[in-house]
């Protein structure tokens, strides 16, 4: 299992729970997840926080199944079957990776509108790790 300690997870809660990103004060690029140095200008590390809307489009996706899930998601796959993982291009620009939920794997399409919402990602040390997944958002 890719171990992420509780303190490490805790530090990233604003981005994991509600997509708080960084806007570069030098070049204006939006970074998500927040980085040490801006991905846009590759020089500035001066940022302001920005609340992303959580809306975007599926850029590409894959299905995780047939026992291929990493250990922390193995039980989820066993109970619920194969699940989609997508790279989503957010309306603000950044591309992020996340699971898709609330959708049959066969209904996922490149270009579909999605919205980020809070879900259980996995549990470790008895602590539930919450974070965002993408769900279909027609008309949004």
């Amino acid at each position: 299992m890719a171990h992420v300690s509780v303190p490490m997870y805790w530090r990233t809660i604003p981005q994991r729970y509600r997509l708080v990103g960084h806007k570069c004060k030098a070049c204006g690029a939006i970074n998500f997840p927040p980085k040490g140095v801006c991905k846009g200008c590759l020089t500035s590390s001066d940022f302001e926080e920005i609340q992303l809307q959580g809306l975007g489009r599926v850029h590409t996706f894959t299905l995780i199944g047939a026992g291929g899930a990493p250990p922390e998601f193995a039980e989820q796959e066993k109970a619920g079957g194969s699940y989609p993982v997508a790279i989503v291009e957010l309306d603000e620009g950044p591309k992020v990776i996340g699971q898709m939920a609330d959708v049959s794997p066969k209904d996922v399409r490149i270009g579909m509108r999605v919205r980020a919402e809070l879900r259980r990602i996995y549990s470790e040390e008895g602590v539930i790790r919450y974070g965002f997944k993408f769900v279909p958002a027609e008309g949004a």
């Binding site: 509600r18 989820q76 109970a79 619920g80 939920a101 609330d102 809070l118 879900r119 259980r120 919450y130």
Partner: protein, 338 residues
């Protein structure tokens, strides 16, 4: 000062199981009048559902999360027995950390309890905005017939003293001592019920009619003054016995009878029923909402619809969005196979 509901939002998880699947597995289905029920996905719990309905309730106005001064969460089935639950939802929405938050658990009456607590906040802080989220997914042993009806769903309300579309006219409560029906000893995840039906029913009827009669009397109202009545729904038949006793008709119950197609929603039962009524209510309609929690207590709240405001999606739209699972899939999703 008129206080009331200024926005609301609902969520029903997408999975459903039909009564026929229970009948195939067990030979019977004990939740009277329930044709199918809503089931959470593997990665959902009451906090993720509460986050979703809270967002929808704020968006229905729209009201930025930064304006919320009071947040109340209600559920009988939180993922932790000890740990602040409302904090997870508050942070996921960006509600200010200095908003007073509270967790209401241990009774299916918790949903209306949280709403009443929210209205109390407005008495001292009339410029404030209260967000109340009720989300529930009670569980019981698969061997227990009380498990058959247990379902999942959520509803949230924004309560304010301005920009209100359903005014609170008054409320009343009743608390008493009854034991043996629907209880969960400390440290256990699954609810028990000694299944003494007559005894349980008498507590259900006594507590709800006491609370409802008290609010009707206080307001000088008769059942015929109401377009709709919503009563706690452990199944789809129980509300009728209370309605009949109070002098309400099946027609007044119809719009809020969500258990018939969603199941027993626990602490979210009356909140989702009330939302389903608000979806169809006309300006001028009066609505009586009566909750019940075993052990036992009841709240009754009287509302009058004063403006036309509907949430999106509606309860009907949420109910129509579904995918069926069979009983074996259900057992796997519920983690019942160890």
């Amino acid at each position: 000062m008129a206080v009331g509901i200024s926005g609301y939002g609902v969520y029903v998880p997408r999975l459903r199981i039909k009564r026929e699947d229970y009948a195939k597995a067990w030979g019977s289905f004990s939740a009277t009048g329930v044709s199918e029920k809503a089931v959470m996905g593997y990665d959902e719990d009451v906090l993720t559902m509460a986050s979703k309905v809270s967002r929808r309730a704020l968006d229905s106005i729209p009201l930025p999360a930064s304006k919320v001064t009071r947040f109340a969460l209600a559920s009988t089935s939180p993922p932790y027995a000890e740990k602040l639950l409302s904090g997870t939802v508050l942070v996921s929405l960006g509600i200010p950390s200095d908003a007073f938050s509270s967790d209401h658990t241990s009774s299916t009456r918790a949903g209306t309890e949280a709403v009443i607590a929210g209205f109390e906040h407005l008495a001292g802080t009339p410029s404030g905005h209260v967000l109340v989220a009720s989300a529930d997914a009670p569980t019981a042993s698969m061997w227990s017939s009380v498990e058959h009806g247990l379902a999942a769903g959520a509803a949230a309300f924004v309560l304010s003293a301005s920009d209100v579309f359903a005014e609170l006219e008054g409320h009343a409560s009743w608390a008493s001592e009854h034991a043996g029906e629907r209880f969960r000893p400390r440290g256990q995840e699954q609810i028990h019920d000694l299944s003494v039906k007559k005894f349980s029913e008498s507590s259900f009827v006594a507590n709800t009619t006491k609370a409802a009669s008290a609010v009707l009397k206080r307001l000088g109202r008769k059942p015929e003054d109401y377009a709709h009545v919503v009563i706690q729904q452990p199944d789809a038949r129980a509300p009728a016995s209370v309605a009949g006793k109070l002098g309400f008709t099946d027609a007044q119950l119809a719009a809020g009878l969500v258990s018939a197609y969603l199941g027993d929603l626990g602490a979210a039962s009356v909140p989702l029923g009330l939302a389903a009524v608000l979806d169809v209510a006309k300006v001028g309609d009066r609505v009586l909402a009566v909750s019940y929690g075993s052990g036992a207590g009841a709240d009754a709240l009287s509302f009058r619809v004063t403006a036309d405001r509907k949430a999106s999606p509606s309860v009907k739209e949420e109910a129509a969005r579904k995918e069926y699972v069979d009983y074996v899939q259900y057992l796997k999703i519920k983690g019942a196979i160890q």
